[in-house]
Amino acid sequence: MTAKQGRNIAFTAIVLIAAAIWVFPLYWALTTSLRSENRIVSDAGVLIDEFNLSAYIEVLSTSKLPIWYLNSVGTSLISTFIVLLTGMMCAYALSQLRFPGRRALYLLVVASFMVPVPALYVAQFVLMSDLGLVNTWWGIILPQLIVPVVVIVYKQFFDAIPKEMREAVLLDGGGEFTLLFKLYLPLNWGITAALAIITFISVWNNFFWPFLVVTSESMMTIPVGITQVNDAFGVFYARMMALALLAAAPVIIGYLIFQKRVTEAVMISAGVKG
């Protein structure tokens, strides 16, 4: 083994250790969640040495976690679908059609980036209250439908499609909707998946807005719901960690499955291509 190889192995080892330390909080949550409550407060070895699922059973049977899953899945899926569909249609018009006010609309979308969304929460809450949507799925969904990055990214990708392809479809008698759904969308499934993932994650993980608009426990999403149990469980650490991990499981599993797409999506949404 040369000195260079030796250095490389040492370097890799150091980076791996650093990465292991970085995920230690998750590992520690898992270790805690698998122990009995008495052991957690008596002695705390760092290794997983017990495989006690009682905390998980307790959490699943006593909390409203299943309902919060349902609320999170429902609101996130509906939001993602609407954001993508409306964003894609608007981006297509901005990219391919000429109409008065086109530039103004595009500038408006770009400018909306500047507005810190939480600054609007008071007014959005008043609006949801006026519409009678407090404590409903639509109350959670509607204000989260503003995702300007979707319009901007779609527009960039639509701009890049050669005009000849569009002329061919137009000559065959196809209209704009045919063009969008039979040509532009199929050519951009990759970017559609990427945008769907980032929209879904951001709605799923949003805490502040659902926390404001929902007060009834049975309408809460996961990030808000688990903070209620927190108070109820008090000092039952195994249960708290089991709850945290059960709440995180869908995103962790989803991320591990769609890893490449997720990282790609994050890069595209920030305007940096890898």
Binding site: F11, V15, L16, A18, A19, W22, V23, P25, L26, A29, V41, V46, L85, T86, M89, C90, Y92, A93, F99, R102, L105, L108, V109, S112, M114, P116, A119, L120, Y121, V122, A123, Q124, F125, V126, L127, S129, L142, P143, I146, G175, F177, I201, W204, N205, F207, P223, N230, Y237, M240, M241, A247, A248, V251, G254, Y255, Q259, V266, M267, V272, G274
Partner: protein
């Protein structure tokens, strides 16, 4: 098909395509934007009409000690997070990009993982790790300071620890952007530098740093705006305390609107946050551009 006919068809299609987006955008974004501006000039409660009071809310803000505390804490938090997270992310990105194949994928996955977690999961885990009595990190703290510290109940520890939690949670995003930036730097530049006998240190400062600068600047800008919007972690970990030492602007907006029922005053706070973010990001953008040009 005549030309005017075609134009008319195009216009009709455009209207149909834009309408759904524009409807949502107008009702749930433009209207609330207008509404929050309008409310900031009234004494409205959260729900219900108020009277026009001109600039009264803003003058009241200027004399509100708690507001200054909040703004200060926001900037203190920015100081604690923005540049540290960028440095940490860059070190990680440089290390990860040196690795190959599966090891690289694994390491990147581990560093990115916290980013996909909901904030309340993150705060629950860290609250447990830093628990005063049984927290696994307390022996570490005790080793440094001599005794365990209830970090989220201690005015000196609270903001730095929230910063640590925040960096752990959001850093993966920055790592990813910087890795993308590193991949865009052509390999032959490094080969040329190596041929000229440049040391790794020189290669970093002469090649990597200047070419990565646009991405670094992007990371800094996004972080700055993100961290000024701090609320969730503070609410969940310390609720603004102890003695308002982690009270931030959005916390004050939340309390005023949803607990003290002062919709108008809360709107004025929101407007000031909005203005701070616009001014700071424009200033930073200009600074970063100058910084980039000098390189």
């Amino acid at each position: 098909m005549s030309k005017t006919n075609r134009r008319r068809r195009e216009l009709r299609a455009a209207i149909l395509l834009i309408a759904p987006f524009l409807f949502v955008f107008t009702l749930f974004f433009l209207y609330p934007t207008y509404k929050v501006i309008a409310m900031s000039f009234t004494d409205a409660p959260l729900i219900g009409e108020g009277n026009w009071v001109g600039l009264a809310n803003y003058t009241k803000l200027l004399g509100d000690k708690l507001f200054y505390t909040s703004v200060w804490n926001n900037f203190y938090f920015v100081l604690l997070t923005v540049i540290p997270t960028t440095i940490i992310a860059m070190l990680i990105a440089l290390a990860v990009s040196k690795l190959k194949g599966r090891t690289q994928a694994l390491v990147l996955t581990l560093f990115f993982l916290p980013y996909v977690l909901p904030v309340s999961v993150v705060t629950m885990i860290w609250a447990w790790m830093l628990d005063f009595q049984f927290g696994v990190l307390q022996p570490l703290i005790a080793a440094i300071t001599g005794k365990p510290v209830p970090v989220f109940k201690n005015p000196y520890w609270v903001m730095p620890m929230i910063a640590v939690v925040t960096i752990w949670w959001t850093n993966g995003f920055n790592v990813l952007l910087l890795i993308a930036g590193l991949r865009n730097i052509p390999e032959d530049l490094y080969e040329a530098a190596a041929l000229d006998g440049a040391t790794p240190w020189q290669r970093f400062w002469r090649v990597t740093w200047p070419l990565l600068w646009p991405v670094t600047a992007l990371v800094l800008t996004l972080q700055l705006i993100l961290q000024l919007k701090l609320f969730d972690q503070v609410y969940l970990l310390s609720n603004g305390g102890p003695f308002n030492s982690s009270y931030v602007v959005l916390m004050q907006m939340y309390r005023e609107a949803f607990q003290l029922n002062n919709g108008g005053y809360a709107s004025a706070i929101a407007m000031v946050l909005f203005m701070i973010i616009v001014v700071v990001s424009v200033l930073q953008f200009q600074l970063l551009r100058i910084g980039g040009r000098r390189k």
